[in-house]
């Protein structure tokens, strides 16, 4: 058995100037957490949502994530529902999808701007650069569009 990978920063309040990522876990929780930790090491504030419903709930309170990173499987209805919700509430918010079925993702109606799709296995460093670019190109919005929910950075 591998030791479980701690979600080391999910309970810590994120510094205000760090890019805020909301990572929606896929089936491989261990790898998702490893990704989250590596991104945190590289200066991102990463929150983890275990599914689409939790991610939607997270978008109902400030501070809002700057980027949504999804590892949801294509077969899960959550991905398109989540994308629709995010597009409605945070127009222009970058969405990054990490998937083993890129063609199936591209066939889905996920709105504009077109999500960045990364095919597994991902090159971590390429992903990191893409996230930084996305954050730079899409300035943070300070005002919530919905009534703020109670503060709870961890959805787990």
């Amino acid at each position: 058995m591998y030791p479980s990978i701690p979600n080391t920063e999910s309970v810590e309040p994120a510094p205000a100037d760090r890019p805020r990522l909301l990572l929606v876990e896929g089936d491989d929780v261990r790898t998702s957490r490893r990704l989250a930790n590596m991104l945190r090491d590289d200066g991102f504030s990463v929150e983890i949502a275990r599914d689409g419903a939790h991610a939607i709930a997270r978008f109902m309170r400030a501070p809002y994530p700057d980027v949504l990173v999804s590892e949801l499987s294509v077969g899960q209805a959550d991905l398109s529902a989540l994308a629709r919700f995010v597009r409605a509430q945070r127009p222009g918010l970058p969405i990054v999808i990490v998937t083993s079925r890129p063609n199936a993702v591209r066939e889905q109606e996920l709105g504009e701007p077109e999500p960045l799709v990364f095919t597994k296995p991902i090159d971590y460093f390429v992903l990191r650069e893409a996230l930084l670019t996305a954050v730079r190109q899409c300035p943070r919005s300070s005002q919530p569009s919905l009534e703020a929910a109670p503060s709870d950075q961890s959805m787990r």
């Binding site: 089936d27 490893r34 930790n37 095919t119």
Partner: protein, 533 residues
């Protein structure tokens, strides 16, 4: 010596002589006043018989005929009985035949006249009556014999005419039947080859000419198997042919190849049928064949597509299952690599993580390539220019060619050609083929590769030719997935190439021998037009 005429022969038979002629001449003077009355009686009797009367059309005609009968009586008792006399009698007989007087009335009418004239002789001539009656009897028999000859001649003519007509009908029917059979044989979309007892070709129909590209004139008399290079996989054809020639029961169909004039093999489904043992016909066996080359190719393509569809379904699921653990492995390797770098960078450990990372990438690329093959994206059909396509490919591979000491040549037609296709996919096809060609030459120490574009009536032809060592086994299933003779090759390049070409509705073929290998791609032009007519 004088040849006896038929009339003279008849006179000799009834013993009619000059004495009879003299008696009749004397009798005419006595009987002449009675001739009109006899003519009247004669035609009155005819009026009593429908069929005899039917030959008359009017009273005027009867009067004319009565006058003719009087003249005839004058002639019969005229004392001159030569060939001219006979000819006149024959003419009268022919007239009777022509007007349709039934033959039986000749006898009855002659009997009536005979009785009338005999009565006059008995009444007027006393002691000369008996010999005169005999003379009358003989001359009237002669008249009858000559006139009846006209009936016989007419009958013979009619029979001959009927025979000729029947022959004409038969000949016509025969010609029609022959024409139909010849047309059926010639127009049939089936190879029909007639063989004599020795197995030599005696009949070679149009379809056989079309499929083989050979003319019947050059093949008639040639041995069937050898002349057409007919071979089947199991080598059973010669034995079946032997059995067929000996009249054995019809053989089951057998598929065998036939070599056409252009050297290409056509697949033919043959059946051999014994044609009978008619002594008047040389042909004893019919070899009938259907060209199944195209349908076999179609079946093969269908099988290939079905196989690919099944592989595609499997691959899509498998790719998902493989990419997920690969992702985990890759991410953790990246984590390790970064951790090692942070801790004074142990070079060997860094290299180890790098190797693992590269291997994971290679595996991921393989999965992606396999998915491209098994689950290709739909074609993006647009108008493509032949020149641009080929020039682009040459640009892409020119550096690789130079490095391999391969001279790359582009051979294009004088004017450009536009056709429908997926530019990216067709670029991939030509890249695969030219890269393979360059690698083949490179392994041979260099060489020449030519990318050729041409227009066929309905297709764009794209040839990639090299002078490398050639395929090790030209019959190997090189277009099958995972078939590769290259070290480190995935065996998917040509399979993907084949698939792209097939998806375009085209074909890909290869001919190979040492120093000359040509991959030929044919893509339908569809609705394209010349760019520079």
């Amino acid at each position: 010596m004088h040849d006896e005429t038929r009339f003279e022969e008849l006179k000799r038979y009834v013993q009619f002589d000059d004495h009879d002629a003299a008696l009749l001449l004397r009798f005419r003077d006595v009987a002449r006043p009675e001739f009109p009355r006899i003519a009247q009686v004669f035609y009155d009797r005819i009026r009593e018989h429908d069929e005899a009367h039917a030959v008359f059309s009017s009273e005027e005609q009867i009067h004319r005929l009565q006058r003719s009968l009087v003249k005839w009586l004058e002639r019969v008792c005229g004392g001159v009985y030569d060939d001219a006399y006979c000819a006149q009698t024959a003419h009268i007989g022919q007239t009777h035949v022509r007007v349709g007087l039934p033959q039986r009335y000749m006898f009855t009418a002659m009997a009536l006249i005979r009785l009338e004239l005999a009565a006059i002789a008995r009444r007027e001539l006393a002691s000369d009556a008996p010999p005169t009656e005999s003379a009358l009897s003989r001359v009237l028999d002669l008249e009858l014999a000559v006139m009846l000859q006209a009936y016989k001649d007419s009958y013979v003519d009619r029979v001959r005419q009927a025979e000729r007509q029947e022959r004409r009908v038969l000949d016509s029917a025969l010609a029609r039947a022959e024409h139909r059979y010849v047309n059926a044989v010639e127009a049939a979309r089936v190879l029909i080859i007639g063989l004599d007892r020795q197995g030599n070709i005696q009949l070679f129909n149009r379809e056989a000419e079309r499929v083989s590209g050979r003319e019947r004139g050059e093949l008639v008399g040639q041995p069937f198997l050898a002349a057409l290079c007919i071979e089947d996989d199991l080598g059973r054809f010669p034995e079946l042919l032997e059995r067929g020639l000996s009249g054995a029961a019809p053989t089951q169909a057998i598929e065998a190849s036939l070599q056409a004039r252009n050297g290409k093999l056509r697949s033919i489904a043959w059946s051999l049928t014994f044609g009978g043992d008619a002594p008047e016909d040389d042909i004893v066996l019919f070899a009938m064949g259907t060209d199944v080359t195209d349908s076999r190719a179609m079946e093969e393509r269908t099988r290939q597509h079905e196989k690919l569809a099944a592989i595609g379904t499997l691959a899509a699921g498998l790719a998902h299952e493989i990419r997920n653990p690969l992702n985990g492995a890759q991410l953790h390797v990246s984590f390790l690599e970064r951790a090692i770098r942070k801790k004074d960078a142990d070079v060997e450990m860094l290299e180890a993580t790098h190797v693992v990372s590269e291997e994971i990438k290679r595996l991921a690329d393989l999965v992606t390539e396999f998915l491209d093959f098994a689950r290709p994206k739909p074609l993006q059909m647009k108008e493509i220019g032949l020149f641009k396509l080929c020039e682009h490919v040459v640009t892409l591979v020119s550096a690789q060619a130079a490095k391999a000491d391969v001279k790359l040549r582009l051979d294009l037609p004088s004017s450009d050609l536009a056709f429908q296709g997926d530019a990216a996919k067709l670029t991939q096809v030509l890249l695969n083929l030219t890269t393979n060609a360059i690698e083949a030459c490179r392994d041979n120490g260099g060489g020449n590769v030519c990318l050729r574009g041409r227009r066929n009536p309905r297709h764009v032809l794209l040839d990639v030719e090299d002078d490398g060592p050639g395929l090790a086994a030209p019959d190997a299933p090189i277009f099958d997935a995972f078939f590769s003779t290259k070290d480190g090759g995935t065996g998917l390049g040509l399979a993907i190439t084949h698939r792209i070409v097939s998806d375009h509705g085209g074909t890909i073929d290869v001919t190979s021998r040492p120093a000359k290998t040509i991959f030929r791609v044919l893509i339908p032009i569809a609705h394209s037009e010349n760019l520079n007519p």
